[in-house]
């Protein structure tokens, strides 16, 4: 009896040790400082929350998840170096970065290493280059911008539009698609304004918008710059309706811009205000853990980890080489994997299909005005 106990104790200890030794290692490279700090911090916290939950429930196929976080400083050059360093440690899956420019320069490294990369970038071109290892957590611009243009034309009834965009891969990608779509629908672009990442003073840009006197303004900047231009638009008394994407009406933008954010509208693939029970529960858990309301980047980070879980469980084994193949064409249902929050399908290019939302900021809160269904 005594020896049996000893053996079982030893076995338990060995199992515990092997489970620890065999933890599934994920590597995250995100914008933890610099212009994208809001993006990266939310993304990182979303990842940590998901991993904590999954590990508390016994991990993935009985193995714990572990993640290392590295800071890209919102700089593509630093991101590339950090991703190379992360890949040298042979992670199971690479998570991040969030900025399209950083994804663009790091994706070839992950593809060369044969490691799947689940990222937050939204530039259209990212998934159009035939990379077999790159996956989105949110809509690419080729999916979201046509919806935006249609809303500006059909619902806002805007015949003339001013387009303000940030001069980087993300901004240029969105601007190209939206201008093409607006043109196709018959709305005229009367001001096409490029701004710089990190720009502090928007007085001149808003002056130009005022001079163009458009029926609607499409704003496509990063979060902090969005907040600054919203304040300047209010300061200079621009009353044309404002339309954007998630980056115009995110939680952080509302916090930074205050009153000036009221009335702004945006198409969002993901929002913590979505009328979806699982998302509401996520928001509550996140707010409780980190003491602030997450934006869509928190959701993206959270979803990235659950994509890893669902794909691995689908394979039935931890196989980094087969991971990307398995995720292509995969549909994950929220009923089977609640952590995925909404039913989602991944295309062969790594793009996603999911329902999306039309949101307006009313008295400092995101109000979902319409739910746009999954395409397929």
């Amino acid at each position: 009896m005594k020896s049996t106990l000893l053996v079982s104790a030893l076995l338990t200890a060995m199992t515990a040790t092997s489970a620890f030794a065999q933890a599934i290692k994920l590597a995250d490279v995100a914008e933890l400082s610099g212009g994208g700090a809001t993006v990266g911090t939310n993304w990182k916290n979303g990842i940590d929350l998901a991993i904590e939950e999954i590990n508390a429930k016994g991990g993935v196929l009985g193995r714990k998840l572990e993640v290392t976080h590295a800071d890209s400083q919102s700089n593509p050059g630093v991101a590339r170096a950090q991703v190379q360093k992360a890949l040298d440690a042979e992670p199971y899956v690479l998570l991040g970065p969030g900025y399209s420019g950083s994804v663009k320069v790091t994706a070839p490294l992950a593809a060369e290493a044969g490691i799947a990369q689940i990222m937050g970038g939204e530039a259209a071109e990212l998934t159009q280059g035939g990379n077999k290892f790159l996956f989105r957590t949110s809509f690419g611009q080729q999916s979201s911008m046509p919806k935006v243009a249609k809303y500006i034309h059909d619902e806002m009834k805007a015949k003339t539009v001013a387009v303000v965009w940030v001069n980087n891969d993300f901004g240029r990608g969105g601007r190209d698609v939206v201008i093409k779509e607006l043109d196709r629908l018959g709305s005229k672009v009367v001001a096409d304004l490029s701004t710089e990442a990190g720009q502090a003073d928007f007085a001149a840009d808003v002056g130009k918008i005022k001079a163009a006197n458009p029926d609607a303004v499409f704003v496509y900047l990063n979060e902090e710059e969005s907040a600054r231009i919203l304040k300047e638009l209010k300061r200079q008394g621009v009353t044309a309706p404002l339309m954007g994407e998630t980056t115009l009406i995110g939680q952080k933008v509302i916090e930074l811009a205050g009153d000036a954010a009221n009335g702004a509208r945006g198409h969002v693939g993901l929002t913590t205000d979505a009328p979806v029970d699982l998302i509401k529960a996520f928001r509550e858990k996140f707010s409780k853990k980190y003491n602030y309301v997450p934006d869509h980047n928190g959701l993206k980070g959270y979803l990235a980890v659950y994509m890893v879980k669902a794909t691995t469980e689908k394979m039935g084994k931890v196989d980094p080489k087969k991971f990307a193949d398995t995720l292509h064409g995969l549909t994950i249902k929220a009923a089977d994997e609640p952590g995925i929050l909404m039913d989602v399908t991944f295309s062969d290019t790594g793009d996603i299909d999911r329902q999306s939302f039309l949101v307006e900021v009313v008295e400092g809160k995101q109000i979902v005005k319409q739910v746009l269904p999954k395409v397929k």
Binding site: L193, S194, G198, A200, D201, A204, E224, R228, L256, A257
Partner: protein, 291 residues
């Protein structure tokens, strides 16, 4: 045309803030040959001190007072005693490099202890418009201009019309002679450091509601104010004021009529032109050096 008017008003408002910061540059240079490359970070920090005060429950008005007082202690007194005085004896260049190090230190400290993310900052001027010459001008622009002008007028009055100001001028122009006529030179130098700290805290209060409180927000401001000080004349307070206003307007006009990508280049090109053709600055005096 209406666009031009709006651009001029916005440019003057930004320029007035540059002027406050640029005046600080010239004050420190004149009295202690300090080129403070951390001047931009000096504008960034007071906003965070005020936010910290509000965080522990102080109302906004009290946070402003505390922020300004703390700035004067940290960025005036401590800056002079702990960095400028020990480095001064090694010459102008080592001191300038030390201020660059201080700039990095301040940025990293705010990033570490506060946040790398931007934070909102309340405005002392309410939002809204008033009509001037049939143009809607925002109260915020007017408020910024008025406060900045009051500060500059107050400072020039102090320097030119009071005994204290004359003593400061004497200490700046010829410390040896000033000592002979019993001017407390050391105290006058300290006073300019405190005035500089007050001006940057005021600039911080005015600019942060627009630019947001962020650890890196001093970079642009420091550079703009430095250019303004050189363009106007590094050894003249009135030169720094003119330089500040000019750079603010030029920057806005460049963004509107040249391109946003090249807006930062236009003041730089202007700076090069000034250095080439009028090295003492637009309103500065040529300084002679003797051996």
């Amino acid at each position: 045309m209406s666009n031009l008017f709006d651009l001029l008003v916005a440019g003057l408002a930004t320029g007035a803030i540059y002027a406050l910061v640029a005046v600080g540059f010239t004050l420190l240079w004149q009295t202690s040959q300090t080129i403070n490359f951390a001047q931009g970070e000096f504008v960034m920090l007071p906003a965070f001190l005020m936010l910290a005060a509000m965080h522990v429950g102080a109302p906004f008005w009290l946070a402003i007072i505390l922020g300004i007082l703390l700035s004067m202690i940290l960025l005036g007194l401590a800056f002079k005693l702990l960095l400028v005085d020990p480095m001064m004896r090694h010459g102008v260049l080592p001191l300038a490099i030390a201020t660059m190090a201080l700039a990095i230190g301040l940025k990293e400290a705010v990033k570490q202890f506060f946040s790398a993310e931007a934070s909102p900052f309340p405005s002392i001027v309410p939002t809204g418009d008033v009509s001037i010459l049939d143009h809607a001008v925002s109260l915020q622009s007017i408020g910024v201009l008025v406060v900045a002008i009051l500060a500059v007028v107050g400072l020039t009055t102090l320097l030119n019309r009071t005994s204290l100001g004359h003593q400061m001028q004497a200490a700046a122009q010829n410390p040896t002679v000033a000592r002979i006529i019993w001017v407390p030179v050391e105290r006058m130098i300290l006073l300019t450091f405190l005035i500089n700290a007050f001006l940057v805290a005021l600039a911080s209060l005015l600019i942060t509601p627009i630019y947001l409180a962020k650890f890196s927000s001093g970079e642009v401001l420091g550079q703009a104010a430095f250019i303004a000080a050189i363009v106007g004349g590094f050894n003249q307070v009135r030169g720094a004021i003119a330089g500040g206003l000019l750079i603010g307007v030029l920057d806005n006009l460049a963004a509107a009529y040249v391109s946003t990508q090249y807006r930062a280049a236009v003041p730089m090109i202007f700076l090069i032109a000034v250095i080439l053709f009028r090295p003492q600055g637009l309103l500065g005096r040529a300084e002679e050096r003797t051996v």
